[in-house]
């Protein structure tokens, strides 16, 4: 699933025949995982979180059609997510009050159509430019839409938003969609179909031309393509899928409000996509799952979660700029050449001091937080179940030592690991398996 395609080239050294399992194996596995997940993670919260993840996976993938595939930085992706959600909610309410016999399962389509329609409208305006100018137009459009959403109170329902009842539509096969598990499967199916559709899109002439426009928009013109048209189609289709994601979010929460189309939501999807990795199709999926998990769970562990969030992002862009998927993809040639065992010990060696440094740092953050913010609770606190006083010198000494020594050792181990990786890669290439 990477940029470098493997066309079936009979007669060429690594040409590959596509069997059913080789071509669709990953997808079959994904479907099985989606079906089994709610039986492994069965709690109400887990279901809710997984529904959220499914929605965000579609959203992040739709965003990567722009950022990763076409090289367009947009600040307004949530506009289509939100408008798709609102249209879905309104469509559901109209269907319910008018007795239109449509089952709930098709309603995300309304979101998709809305996303596509607004993608066409805003795309016609913004894709006339590329690069920073494009980014700034999307920023302006996003601000205009989210401000208008508060002013147009009847359509957007004001601050409270618009609510709906997902159980009030016709029940197909006895599915009421009251229980969350039914909603999970609805989202899972849509997530699977959308992801497959977006993956298929990358394998079309248009998908490849998007990559070409991303790499070198000028040259794309000299092989016959109008870059503006490419951007426009990409933008509109991206709106379609973002709208579907919005529709699913609306069904999941049964409420849609103006905050869903604001800049914060657009920022979230940029973070998800980038952290997961824009260079790889699975990147945004990983990013959506990870960031959603952190959003749900991190605030329970610490009340300065935003600080950790920020540090995570800074660390990611400095150390892992091609995202988690990129990090994994870099191990693939080693894996194929059976060279991974040469670097794995170095990874483990770097991990231990790395974790120590992180522990030291978060300990210092938590102690500072205890002393500064929870001043009325006194200095007594616990970190990793170890109780101590935040104003005593010993914990600070421990934390500082962990941080300093951990960082120093980590940097050394990381250098060694990089060295080992380069050697293993060279060895893999020598074996003729890698590129």
């Amino acid at each position: 699933m990477s940029d470098i395609a493997r066309p079936p080239l009979p007669g060429l050294p690594s040409g590959r025949a596509g069997g059913v399992l080789a071509t669709y194996g990953v997808w079959i596995a994904a479907a099985v995982v989606l079906a089994v997940l709610p039986h492994v993670f069965a709690s109400g919260l887990a279901l809710t979180a997984m529904c959220l993840m499914g929605t965000m996976i579609i959203f992040a993938l739709s965003y990567n059609m722009l950022l990763g595939q076409t090289g367009l930085l947009s600040f307004g992706q949530a506009v289509f997510f939100g408008l798709g959600g609102f249209l879905t909610v309104h469509a559901m309410n109209v269907a319910e009050s008018g007795g239109v016999p449509l089952p709930l399962a098709v309603f995300p389509l309304f979101g998709g159509v809305a996303g596509l329609a607004f993608g066409v409208i805003f795309g016609a305006v913004s894709t006339r430019r590329a690069g920073t100018a494009f980014a700034m137009i999307t920023l302006g459009v996003a601000e205009l839409v989210s401000s208008s959403a508060l002013i147009l109170r009847h359509f957007f329902g004001g601050e409270e938003g618009v609510t709906t009842d997902r159980t009030g539509l016709v029940h197909l096969f006895g599915l009421t969609f009251g229980p969350q598990i039914q909603v999970y499967y609805l989202i899972a199916v849509w997530c699977f179909v959308s992801a497959a559709a977006m993956y298929a899109l990358t394998c079309t002439p248009f998908g490849r031309i998007c990559n070409a426009v991303r790499d070198n928009p000028e040259r794309a013109g000299f092989i016959g393509y109008d870059t503006q048209t490419v951007r426009f189609i990409s933008f509109s289709l991206s709106g379609l899928f973002a709208g579907i994601a919005g529709g699913l979010a609306a069904i999941n929460f049964e409420i849609m409000n103006a905050a869903q189309l604001g800049l914060a939501q657009s920022g979230t999807v940029i973070l998800m996509t980038y952290i997961g990795g824009v260079g790889d199709f699975v990147g945004p999926i990983i990013g959506a799952i990870l960031v959603t998990y952190l959003q749900v769970a991190l605030s329970d562990v610490t009340d300065v979660w935003q600080l950790y969030f920020g540090l995570l992002f800074i660390g990611m862009v400095i150390f892992v700029p091609d995202g988690i998927a990129g990090l994994l993809a870099r191990q693939r040639p080693l894996l194929l050449a059976r060279q991974l065992h040469r670097v794995a010990p170095f990874y483990a060696l770097a991990l231990v001091p790395g974790l120590a440094a992180i522990t030291g740092l978060s300990m210092m953050i938590e102690m500072t937080n205890q002393l500064a913010v929870h001043v009325s609770d006194g200095p007594a606190m616990a970190f990793l179940y170890v109780p101590f006083d935040a104003d005593a010198p010993l914990p600070w000494l421990v934390a500082a030592t962990l941080l300093a020594a951990g960082t120093w050792l980590f940097l050394r181990a990381a250098r060694a690991a990089r060295h080992a990786y380069d050697e293993a890669l060279a060895a893999s290439r020598a074996r003729g398996r890698g590129p």
Partner: protein, 416 residues
């Protein structure tokens, strides 16, 4: 304490719903869902501190029905969607009582969610106690049996405020300025309607709306107010939009009286003091610290000794918890399905003055005496200042319950 445990607890709760509720079955769990990080945290944290204070006080006396009270905090980041995830988390952890206040968008989402949850999960009732969200929609069009509201809603506050204003003959020209979203429009609409009915001679010389938290410079608005010749401004603005408005007025030397909902909110007193507008800014609330009522003032002192940096104090949180515990004791049950009927129509001696308030059965809106207070230098009998400004809130009028009652369109559907 709790924070350390939850990281593992969350991982467990992902695995199965059976793992969690057994942990501490004998406590009465109250889930507090409000912003505890980011911009909204300044107000969310105060409510939490206060709940902890109340829980500690009650637990020291043996708890409620013999169980200790446990407050569990859930950070909702002021987002409706995140709130619903947190409510789900709370339910998984065995919480049946949800307390929330900040943001009508969040309140509406939770109200709607709880109603549907109870309908779809018979016998596992959850109740939602709202201590601060005051959009009238919550107790009108979208009212719910499982939602109880302790702060006076916009209409109720405006009813009280206009009943006060109608007796002030010096008010001749009123200017309305509000944030351009549903809450701001509720305030403006109520003000227009009630002033027209009670004081037709008052001229409304302006009805301005500006986008929510997008204004850095309020001078043009102040110039407009001045040009209109208004002597009084009514505003529902809060937070930065109120602080900057008041400061711009102070800078320009605009001399009007300000009738506000949220001048007492965090940061408000500081702004009024900086703008140097003594006794010109009024607010309508369910109580202020300088009401001469000993039990309330003693509690306030005890609280402030513990939380010196907390600037505001919500009497309504005491009313909420007091009535909740009373209902539980009357029903001999911590099951919302059993104690919720006891809350309906409950009469309760309010925290601020001991005078009686009532939880109206029809829409679950609590009606209580409301107070108009103004902000300025204090005398010896007014011991409480705000935000270390040296100034404090002083009562100028008490509006009795009968003068705060409004009608409701709520048609509650609940079958026992």
């Amino acid at each position: 304490m709790r924070k350390g445990l939850v990281s593992t607890a969350f991982a467990l709760s992902m695995l199965g719903s059976a793992a969690m509720p057994s942990m501490a079955e004998d406590t009465l769990k109250i889930g507090y869902v409000d912003p505890l990080s980011g911009g909204g945290a300044s107000i969310g944290q105060i409510g939490l501190d206060q709940l902890h204070f109340i829980a500690d006080t009650v637990n020291a006396k043996g708890g409620v029905l013999g169980s200790k009270i446990e407050i569990i905090a859930y950070d909702n980041k002021l987002s409706p969607q995140a709130s619903l995830v947190q409510v789900q988390k709370a339910i998984d952890e065995g919480v049946h009582i949800i307390v929330q206040g900040n943001g009508s968008a969040v309140a509406a989402a939770i109200e709607n969610f709880v109603a549907k949850y109870n309908e779809r999960n018979p016998g596992k009732d959850i109740v939602y106690l709202n201590y601060a969200a005051i959009d009238p929609i919550l107790t009108n069009q979208s009212c719910s049996y499982w939602h109880f509201s302790w702060d006076a809603n916009v209409d109720v506050k405006m009813e009280a405020l206009t009943n006060f204003m109608k007796s002030r003959a010096d008010i001749k020209k009123v200017y309305l300025i509000d944030q351009d979203y549903s809450f701001g429009h509720s305030v403006a609409d109520a003000a227009m309607r009630m002033l027209k009915a009670k004081r037709p001679d008052i001229q409304i010389v302006g009805n301005e709306f500006h986008p929510l938290v997008k204004i850095t410079d309020f001078s043009p608005y102040v110039a407009k107010i001045r040009a209109s010749g208004a002597d009084t401004v009514i505003t529902g603005n809060w937070g930065q939009d109120l602080a900057l408005l008041i400061k711009a007025a102070g800078d320009a030397g605009l001399k009007v009286n300000w009738y506000t909902f949220y001048a007492g909110g965090a940061g408000g007193p500081t702004a009024v003091k900086q703008a140097n507008l003594p006794d010109q800014v009024f607010q309508v609330t369910e109580g202020v610290n300088n009401i001469d009522y000993t039990p309330a003032q003693e509690t306030a002192r005890a609280y402030m000794a513990r939380h010196q940096s907390d600037p505001v104090f919500y009497p309504r949180m005491f009313n909420l918890t007091g009535m909740l515990f009373k209902a539980i004791e009357e029903a001999h049950s911590t099951d919302p399905g059993k104690f919720a009927p006891k809350l309906e129509g409950m009469k309760y001696a309010t925290f601020s003055s001991g005078e009686e308030g009532i939880m109206r059965k029809q829409d679950h809106q609590f009606f209580q005496p409301l107070y108009i207070s103004d902000f300025g230098p204090l005398n010896a009998k007014q011991p409480f200042d705000e935000e270390h400004t040296g100034w404090g809130w002083k009562v100028v009028a008490q509006i009795p319950v009968k003068d705060t009652v409004t009608t409701t369109t709520c048609k509650m559907t609940h079958s026992e």
